[in-house]
């Protein structure tokens, strides 16, 4: 039978999380259809159609899907559900919001944050901030799951699936979009970046974040991340938070600056290929996961680091 993958997109472009979740969806062993629900989202649907291994793209274009409101979107997915054995989405805020609603409407227990597909009904997922990995077998006839995108590489392009329009399912009209404040940035997106430069409480202020952390990130073409303490203190916006309850990332290089390494932070970054930590406390737990550590003050180390990087990047 068939798997339905919910696309993450901004109508114009497809978010990289979709291609990663597709790798997981394909591992279920059935043909995959991608659902692009949005408003004026033809471009995103066309992009989805180029992903390798996709059989068909469903485009639901309607006002009610313009802002990802859970109520109409869940009704749409449920209206399509009879044709599918599995409904999959990346662990983005959109899918985390809507898929459990879908699961409950279908009387299915969702499997959250799938890290590996053992069999079409058996999956690995993290619990306790990733301190344990559970292998679970779903006894539900239909599977509903979200995918921990940091655990999967992206499926490449080369496909040419047909894009088919599907009808909107109607809006229950119990929620209304008011506004959105989306941070515009030229930097790569956190979950897609090859390099991430992250700052913690030690950075001390929003100004210092802009003075120390961001220029280093820009010198490396990196995304900027932050610990919860830095976000709570207002040094960095909420969407930069890395961790158990923030974004889960797995870049080639993760540089943790003035971050202690609480388990909740490690949960979001310990799958990075190479980890660098700078902390003035040589006992800081972050050093237990760091490949390279410098015991020192970020206020002196960061400018030096920037200068050295400029030399090798020449």
């Amino acid at each position: 039978m068939t798997t339905l993958l919910l696309a993450e997109h901004n109508n114009a472009t497809l978010n990289g999380a979709t291609a990663k979740a597709l790798t997981c969806a394909i591992a279920l062993g059935a043909p995959v259809h991608i659902l692009v629900a949005g408003k004026g989202a033809k471009a995103a649907a066309d992009a989805a159609a180029t992903l390798s291994g996709v059989e068909k793209v469903l485009l639901a274009d309607d006002d009610s899907y313009a802002h990802g409101l859970a109520e109409p979107l869940a009704d749409l997915i449920v209206s399509l559900a009879p044709g599918y054995d599995a409904i999959v989405g990346p662990s983005t805020s959109l899918a985390k919001n809507v898929l459990p609603r879908v699961a409950a409407l279908l009387d299915v227990m969702q499997v959250s944050d799938v890290m590996a597909v053992v069999a079409p009904d058996t999956f690995e997922r993290p619990i306790y901030a990733g301190n344990a990995i559970q292998t679970v077998k779903s006894t539900d006839a239909k599977k509903v799951m979200t995918v921990r995108t940091a655990s999967f590489s992206a499926t490449g392009e080369g496909g040419s699936a047909a894009v088919e329009s599907v009808a909107a399912a109607g809006n229950p009209g119990i929620s209304t979009f008011l506004e959105e404040a989306i941070s515009a940035s030229d930097r790569p997106e956190l979950t897609a970046a090859k390099i991430i430069v992250s700052g913690g409480r030690a950075v001390g202020s929003r100004e210092k974040f802009a003075e120390l952390i961001e220029p280093l990130a820009d010198a490396l073409g990196a995304a900027v991340g932050a610990s919860r303490a830095a976000v709570d203190a207002g040094y960095a916006p909420n969407d930069w938070q890395v961790g158990q309850t923030g974004k889960v990332v797995a870049p080639e290089l993760y540089i943790a600056l003035g971050i202690s390494g609480a388990i909740q932070h490690l949960a979001g970054m310990k799958d990075s290929k190479v980890i660098v930590a700078v902390n003035k406390d040589e006992e800081a737990p972050i050093f237990q996961v760091a490949d390279y550590g410098i015991v020192g003050d970020i206020n002196t180390v960061i400018p030096e680091l920037k200068a050295e990087i400029a030399k090798v990047k020449g």
């Binding site: 109520e71 805020s93 985390k96 919001n97 409950a104 050093f287 050295e308 030399k311």
Partner: protein
């Protein structure tokens, strides 16, 4: 308006759990248990709404073993008015929790249910959304700001790219994110007072809910370990290693 706040008893967030050597689960014997941190935020938000005159009563509900009554006492000590313990041993999955909560909602008729966005043991992030689905109510998940205006609920949500503000018809489901508020500590007099507040006892059968898990746990394992690397003496050395040894620059 009444506010219902589901609170879960979980391993304290400071505890680093260990996997049992036979792979049957995690070690829970003699481990500090606390209220799920996101649920403390939910209780706090409900109390603030009551203090602001927007709510009349705050009812905490917990689904779990007899000891979950301690979690309810914590909520009562913070200021909740009464508790409901739905007693059940063993794992209750979010879908079953949502079904039980639907039953509690039918009985209590709250105008708002505020849950945590995620329990830090199962890390599921599902229950609020599922409850909203079962009730046919709107949902404001990952809330960092909440206001009640003319019978509607205005919620600012933490989303991947920033913040989104939506308006929900009442009654509604809210799930809390970390930045919604800072929960209060219970004062000693309030802890004493909480001992006299009522806790009603129920079972899943009272709500006609079958709590048999849908997911069978085949195995629980340690994650792939990561070895501590080396401390380097200088920035020059670090950059050289990143370039030549790690090949990431």
């Amino acid at each position: 308006m009444k506010i219902l706040v589901p609170v879960k008893r979980v391993v304290d967030y400071n505890v680093k759990v260990r996997v049992k050597s036979d792979g049957s689960g995690v070690e829970l014997a003699n481990i500090k248990m606390s209220m799920n941190p996101f649920d403390e935020i939910a209780v706090e938000e409900a109390l603030r709404l009551k203090e602001a005159g927007k709510a009349t009563e705050v009812v905490a509900v917990s689904i779990g073993p007899a000891q979950a009554s301690e979690t309810l006492r914590t909520a009562l000590a913070m200021g909740a008015d009464r508790g409901i313990l739905v007693k059940v041993d063993g794992v209750v999955e979010p879908l079953a929790v949502a079904k039980i909560l639907k039953g509690v909602v039918a009985e209590e008729a709250p105008g708002l249910v505020i849950l945590g966005k995620q329990a830090i043991d199962d890390d599921c992030n599902q229950t609020g959304q599922m409850l909203a689905a079962l009730l046919g109510w709107p949902q404001g998940t990952f809330a960092s700001k909440l206001a009640i205006e003319d019978g509607a609920v205005v919620v600012t949500r933490e989303i991947d790219g920033g913040l989104q503000t939506i308006k929900l018809n009442s009654p509604a489901i809210i799930t809390t994110d970390l930045r919604l508020n800072e929960p209060r500590y219970a004062s000693l007099p309030n802890i004493m007072k909480a001992k006299k507040k009522p806790i009603g006892e129920k079972t899943p059968a009272d709500y006609g809910v079958d709590v048999t898990p849908r997911l069978t746990v085949l195995k629980t394992a340690e994650p792939a370990g990561r070895k501590a690397g080396v401390k380097v003496g200088s920035v020059g050395e670090l950059v050289a290693k990143l370039k030549d040894e790690a090949g990431v620059l």
